[in-house]
C-alpha cells in the first residue's frame, strides 16, 4: 500500500471521492487538501476529480452502515476543525472496519474530535441566530456575518421560516458565501466580493433606536464586562449594530437628490447577480 496526499475541489462530494479513491487504489492517506489550502509538499500527491456517482456510492454505503454517521460527516464537514478531512476520513475508515457500535462511545478517540467540532459549530450557529443583524435596504433584509464555521446551512431553515414573506440575504465574509432567500426559495452560492449599501433614513432611525435601547437596558451598578464577553465573544461584535461607530448611524444622501443613481446603486449593493438567482438550484427552507 502506498502513502499518498490527495487534492480535491473543496466540496463535500469531492471529499467523498477522495475516500472512494483511497479504497479503490488501496492507498493510505497522509493528508487531504482542498485546492485552495494546498502548499506544495515533497510527498507524492494527486488531484482527485469529483465524480458524483463515486460520491453517491460512498454515501449510500455509509448510510447503510449508520445513518447517524452520515449526518455526523455532513455536519463535520461544515466545521472549522483544522484538517477536518483527515478526521472525517479516519472516522469513515473506523466505521467501515468496526461497524457503528463505537459511535455511542462519546469519548472515543476517533469520534471525540469530530463531536467536539460539531458542538462548536452548533454553538456558533445558535449564537448567530441571535447576533445576526439585518438592515432593510429597499425592501430586502440583508446581513453580514464573520463566523469561524460554515453556519449558513444551519441558519437557513431558521431565518427562512421566520421571515418567510420577506426577501433576505446573509453574507458570510469568512467563507465568501451568500444565502439568498425570496419567494419561499433559498439558495447558498459562493460570492467573492460584497459590500453593503448605505442605509436610508428609516433604517438609520431603527439603528439609533436599537443602540439607545441597548445602552439604556444595562444596569450601571451591575456592570460586568467579563460576563458579557463570556456570553458574547468580541469577535461577533464587528457585525452587530450596537457596537458600530458613528458612521454606521448616518444616512446616505437622500435619493431624491439624484434619482438616476439610486436605482442601480441599490441593485449592485444587494449583490444579487441577476442571472444566478433564477437559475441556481433552489432548495426548500
Amino acid at each position: 500500500m502506498n502513502e499518498m496526499t490527495y487534492l480535491y475541489d473543496g466540496s463535500f462530494e469531492g471529499f467523498l471521492c477522495c475516500v472512494f479513491e483511497s479504497y479503490a487504489k488501496h492507498e493510505i492517506l497522509t493528508a487531504i487538501y482542498s485546492d485552495e489550502d494546498f502548499v506544495p509538499v515533497l510527498f507524492a500527491s494527486r488531484t482527485i476529480e469529483t465524480d458524483f456517482s463515486h460520491a453517491g456510492r460512498v454515501m449510500r454505503k455509509i448510510v447503510k452502515v449508520s445513518p447517524y454517521a452520515a449526518d455526523l460527516l455532513r455536519r463535520g464537514f461544515l466545521t472549522c476543525l483544522p484538517e477536518r478531512e483527515m478526521y472525517l476520513y479516519r472516522l469513515i475508515a473506523k466505521l467501515l472496519r468496526e461497524g457503528p457500535r463505537f459511535l455511542g462511545s462519546l469519548s472515543d478517540e476517533t469520534l471525540y474530535p469530530v463531536l467536539k467540532a460539531i458542538r462548536n459549530l452548533h454553538g456558533e450557529a445558535q449564537l448567530l441566530r441571535g447576533f445576526v443583524r439585518f438592515s432593510e435596504l429597499g425592501g430586502v433584509l440583508g446581513a453580514e456575518i464573520e463566523p469561524k464555521n460554515r453556519v449558513l446551512p444551519l441558519l437557513r431553515g431558521h431565518f427562512c421560516s421566520r421571515y418567510q414573506n420577506e426577501k433576505l440575504f446573509i453574507y458570510d465574509r469568512t467563507h465568501r458565501e451568500i444565502l439568498l432567500y425570496a419567494d419561499h426559495k433559498a439558495v447558498i452560492a459562493p460570492l467573492e466580493h460584497f459590500e453593503m449599501a448605505p442605509p436610508d433614513e428609516s433604517e438609520v432611525g431603527y439603528r439609533l433606536l436599537w443602540k439607545r435601547f441597548y445602552d439604556t437596558i444595562a444596569i450601571k451598578e451591575r456592570y460586568n464586562p467579563k460576563c458579557r464577553r463570556t456570553h458574547m465573544p468580541m469577535r461577533y461584535w464587528n457585525t452587530m449594530t450596537e457596537f458600530q461607530g458613528t458612521d454606521y448611524f448616518k444616512a446616505k444622501k437622500s435619493s431624491a437628490d439624484d434619482p438616476g443613481l439610486s436605482a442601480p446603486n441599490e441593485k449592485s449593493a444587494l449583490a444579487i447577480p441577476p442571472e444566478s438567482e433564477p437559475s441556481a438550484p433552489a432548495s426548500a427552507p
Binding site: Q164, L209, T216
Partner: protein, 424 residues
C-alpha cells in the same frame, strides 16, 4: 415627545425586571405571519448588555406613570422623574421594526399602573392585539399581569401572550405591607391561581380540540427582590419551592436589590447589590428544577443562608459525604446528578457512553464533567483519579480554591509607602 425619548425613558424604567427569556413556547412558522418561537429549546439571546444579562426581548413599559407608591421602585408616584407613555400603535410598529431586523425575539410588556389596573391592562391588550392581528406577529410575547386586574382581562391577555407573569417583588407579607402598601399577598396570588387553573383547563381543551386557542403556552413566571428586606435564603427558597409545586410556575427570577431611592426602610444607597447571593439563589433554583433537589435538603433552620464560598450543590455534598463516592458506571441518572461537577448534559452523556464501553476517569473530562469538583466524589471502574489525596477537612479547602478565581475579588487596596512612614 419623540419616539427615541419615549424608548429611553420606558426601557430605563423596565430594566430592573429580571425576566428576559424567550423559552417555553414552540410555535413554528405560520403561513402569512411573521415570526416563530422555535429558535431553540432554551430560547435565544440577541445580545448581552454591559451588565452581562441576556437581552432577548424588547423590554419596555407601556407607561411609567403609576398611581402606586412602592418605596423601592423608581416609578413610584412620589418620585420626581420624566414620565412617558407609548401609544399602542407606536409600540406595535417599534416591535415589528426591531423584530424584522433580528434585534429581538419578541416583546416584554410591563407597565406602571395608570388610573386602575384594569385600564392599564386594557391598554396592553390593545397593543398586543394590534401586533398579533394587524401585523400578524407570530413571535414571543411576555406580558405582565398587574395585581388586581379583573379575571376577564387576564383571560384576554393570556390568549395574546406566550408567557404571563405576576411579580411577587417582596418575599414576605410583612415586607409588602412595609414597602408596597398598595399591594397585598391576596391580590398577587389571585391572578397567579387563575392563570394556573386556566392553563390546566387549556391542556384538556387542546387534547379534545387540536386548534383550541392556546392560553399562555409558555406558562407563567414571577420575580422577587433579594436584599431589600431581611428575609433569609431559606425563606425565599421555600417560597420558590411552594410556587413550583402549587402554582406550576416555569421560572422564579431573583433580582438583587439595586438601591435607587433613599428611604429609612430600605438599605442605604451606597450598599452594593447582593450579586453573589442572587447567584447562589439561581444555582439553588436550578437544583430544584432540573436536579431533583428539594428546598429543605439545601437549607434548614441551622443554616438559613447559603455559603458564599462554595455553591449549593457542593455544600450539600459536603454535608452528605456518606453518599459518595458514586460509581459512574453503575449509578442511575438521579444519583449522577447529585455529584458536584456533573450536570444534566454530562449525566446524559455518561448514560449514552457507558452502554458501549466502561468509562475510565480520563474519559469523563471529554464528556463534559468538571473534574476539578467531580473528582472528589466519584469513581470509575472502582478507581478514583490517580494521585488524589484528601481528607474531609482539606476537601472543603480544595473546593473553595477551585472556585475562587470565578468569585468577585475584594477590591485590591493600593498601599501607600509614605503614609506608613509618616504615621510611623
Amino acid at each position: 415627545m419623540e419616539l427615541l425619548d419615549k424608548l429611553t425613558i420606558l426601557s430605563d424604567a423596565a430594566k430592573y425586571d429580571a425576566a428576559c427569556t424567550s423559552s417555553g413556547s414552540r410555535r413554528g412558522f405560520r403561513q402569512g405571519y411573521i415570526g416563530s418561537t422555535t429558535s431553540s429549546v432554551a430560547g435565544c439571546c440577541h445580545t448581552f448588555s454591559a451588565d452581562g444579562r441576556c437581552v432577548s426581548l424588547l423590554k419596555v413599559l407601556m407607561t411609567n406613570n403609576c398611581v402606586y407608591n412602592c418605596k423601592y421602585c423608581v416609578n413610584r408616584c412620589s418620585n420626581d422623574t420624566r414620565r412617558a407613555m407609548f401609544t399602542p400603535e407606536e409600540l406595535a410598529e417599534l416591535t415589528i421594526g426591531f423584530y424584522r431586523r433580528n434585534y429581538i425575539e419578541g416583546l416584554f410588556l410591563s407597565s406602571g399602573v395608570v388610573r386602575t389596573p384594569d385600564y392599564t391592562t386594557e391598554l396592553m391588550i390593545k397593543s398586543l392585539r394590534i401586533l398579533r392581528e394587524r401585523y400578524r406577529f407570530n413571535g414571543y410575547i411576555h406580558a405582565k399581569t398587574i395585581p388586581g386586574t379583573s379575571p376577564v382581562l387576564v383571560e384576554q391577555l393570556g390568549l395574546l401572550a406566550d408567557r404571563l407573569s405576576v411579580n411577587i417583588e417582596l418575599p414576605s407579607e410583612s415586607g409588602l405591607k412595609l414597602l408596597a402598601p398598595d399591594k397585598t399577598k391576596a391580590a398577587i396570588l389571585t391572578p397567579m391561581r387563575q392563570i394556573e387553573t386556566r392553563r390546566t383547563e387549556n391542556t384538556e381543551e387542546l387534547v379534545k380540540y387540536r386548534h383550541a386557542p392556546k392560553f399562555a403556552p409558555a406558562g407563567q413566571s414571577t420575580q422577587m427582590i433579594v436584599g431589600a428586606t431581611g428575609d433569609s435564603d431559606l425563606h425565599i427558597l421555600r417560597l420558590t419551592q411552594g410556587l413550583y409545586d402549587q402554582y406550576k410556575l416555569k421560572r422564579v427570577f431573583y433580582s438583587a436589590y439595586v438601591p435607587v431611592v433613599e428611604n429609612a426602610l430600605l438599605p442605604s444607597k451606597d450598599v452594593k447589590p447582593p450579586l453573589l447571593r442572587e447567584h447562589r439563589l439561581y444555582q439553588a433554583d436550578w437544583l430544584l428544577r432540573f436536579y431533583g433537589f428539594r428546598a429543605e435538603e439545601l437549607l434548614d433552620e441551622h443554616n438559613p443562608d447559603f455559603n458564599p464560598l462554595v455553591d449549593p450543590k457542593c455544600s450539600w455534598a459536603l454535608a452528605h459525604l456518606d453518599f459518595f463516592p458514586v460509581e459512574v458506571n453503575s449509578a442511575d441518572y438521579e444519583t449522577l446528578l447529585r455529584i458536584p461537577g456533573i450536570g444534566v448534559t454530562s449525566a446524559k452523556r455518561i448514560l449514552v457512553s457507558r452502554r458501549c464501553a466502561r468509562l475510565k476517569i480520563e474519559d469523563l473530562r471529554k464528556l463534559g464533567v468538571v473534574m476539578k469538583r467531580a473528582q472528589y466524589f466519584l469513581t470509575a471502574c472502582g478507581k478514583m483519579a490517580e494521585g488524589l489525596r484528601f481528607s474531609p477537612d482539606s476537601l472543603l479547602r480544595n473546593l473553595i480554591a477551585a472556585e475562587r478565581p470565578g468569585l468577585p475579588q475584594p477590591a485590591a487596596e493600593q498601599l501607600t509607602l509614605f503614609d506608613t512612614i509618616q504615621s510611623a
